[in-house]
Symmetry: C2
Subunit: 245 residues, 2 copies
DNA sequence: ATGTCGCTTCGACCGCTGTCAAAGCATCCC
DNA sequence: GGGATGCTTTGACAGCGGTCGAAGCGACAT
């Protein structure tokens, strides 16, 4: 029993996964892909501000490590997050990550960041201030139970199911959890995810309640969307997220 | 809009946290501390097979980064995991981590690894094959509901509460979730955590159902413990985890 | 007082890894 | 065919980060 050096041999190589996210560029890629879409290699390279060759080697590592999945279409290489568990990892990680004192360099960057805070995609559902308003309104109207204790007991009520039918949103049958609480890394509060959150988001995009801002995962709530959220959930026409700024 | 380089400025520095776990030695430290105890710096150094000076610098990083907390007592420095969220991070990370083809160098190492698989501490509760047997038995006897869908609905039944009282285990009042499903990285199945899991484990240690193996987080089930688990839960005297090996 | 033990600091070394430019290869468009 | 466009490969370079030994500093024991 002279060899106390058991630490490395337990058979789980945590560091291997962590190393993949330990680089700023690779982390930026993953953060970008959090919107659940597939980005091309070039888009990611430009997004993170590196050359294509650099991006290629990073993407090879991420795909090789199982964090990302890729798909070739013609001369394009599409990247997306490989797995549900990777989303979870990124969420937990983001929760522990230090917030840098945000010091935007230019006005357009500032605006873009503000947009991210107001409304954006998080995987397949809505996040940001608007998402929180929606969730709160649904709870207040008795459409949703939202007890985020552990284990979290969040669910759609009967009135909630009726509301979805009323608005014209079909809730697909799925093995995935219908209602999930997803933690927001900017607001540090939970918002609506799961099948219900996904369906709501899909409808919001399809019905032009929200539109994408460029190729980022930021969203803009359209006047049409404001009106709809007012009609269906009683949200103010001028969002409290934009008010007084 | 010429500067597309927004990727780094979103304000969450994922890479900073990941970098802390991206080193084999630091990861080994964290894995060791997963047993929830406080280790001294020297113990950790020996465990990971590095010199004290190396350990010091790593520990400074981990404490500085908020993953570990330290406490000085005389000439000793005690380290423990800082935060509940860090445990979660390590769990998610371990789930995604590659399993190295375990090729133990010596017989004693092999035995020690096997012990880890059979029974060990995971934070404040039991893990390993024995923990799974216990959980299954409790479910079978109607002491526990165990629906690990999402959101997970696991809870103690009335009969379960009575069982704890009967065995003489006091369930402390706490804001923590009473019953939690914790994922096991060796078995890839969930076992009993939360306040109930912690209380059960505390009793098992106090009543000598299990004993620590050296300074590791491995546990050995005593004959007394085997008998108790048989009497209270109907487990076989010869564990199925040890049987036929 | 003197020695031991546990941890920290310092300095030096080395290797790994992220970066880019340039050239190469495949695909698509005209 | 010819010329973009998107991605990959290669090679060279720089810097960061992990490692150790040796010396230093407290705390504790005798």
């Amino acid at each position: 029993m002279d060899d106390q050096r058991v630490g490395r041999d337990v058979g789980v190589d945590l560091a291997a996964v962590a190393r993949l996210l330990a680089d700023g560029t690779r982390a930026a890629f993953c953060l970008a892909l959090l919107d659940g879409r597939a980005w091309t290699a070039g888009e990611l390279a430009r997004y993170a501000g590196v050359t294509q060759s650099t991006a290629t080697s990073h993407l090879n590592l991420l795909v090789g490590g199982g964090l990302l999945a890729d798909e070739r279409h013609g001369r394009h290489r599409y990247l997306r997050i490989a797995d549900r568990r990777v989303f979870e990892l990124l969420e937990v990680l983001a929760e522990l990550a230090p917030r840098q004192p945000v010091r935007p360099r230019s006005l357009t960057v500032a605006t873009r960041q503000q947009a991210l805070l107001d409304a954006r995609l998080c995987y397949d559902h809505l996040a940001g201030a608007v998402a929180l308003e929606i969730k709160d309104a649904m709870v207040e109207r008795g459409l949703l139970v939202w007890d985020t204790g552990q284990p979290a007991a969040a669910a759609l009520t009967d009135r909630g199911a009726a509301w979805f039918a009323d608005v014209g949103i079909v809730l697909p049958a799925s093995r995935r959890p219908p209602v999930r609480a997803c933690l927001d890394w900017t607001e540090r509060r939970t918002h609506l995810a799961g099948v219900v959150g996904g369906a709501l988001c899909g409808h919001a995009l399809a019905a032009d309640w929200v539109t994408r801002v460029g190729t980022t995962r930021a969203l803009r709530v359209t006047p049409l969307g404001r009106q709809a959220l007012h009609d269906h959930l009683g949200l103010p026409i001028v969002s409290s997220a934009t008010r007084g700024r």
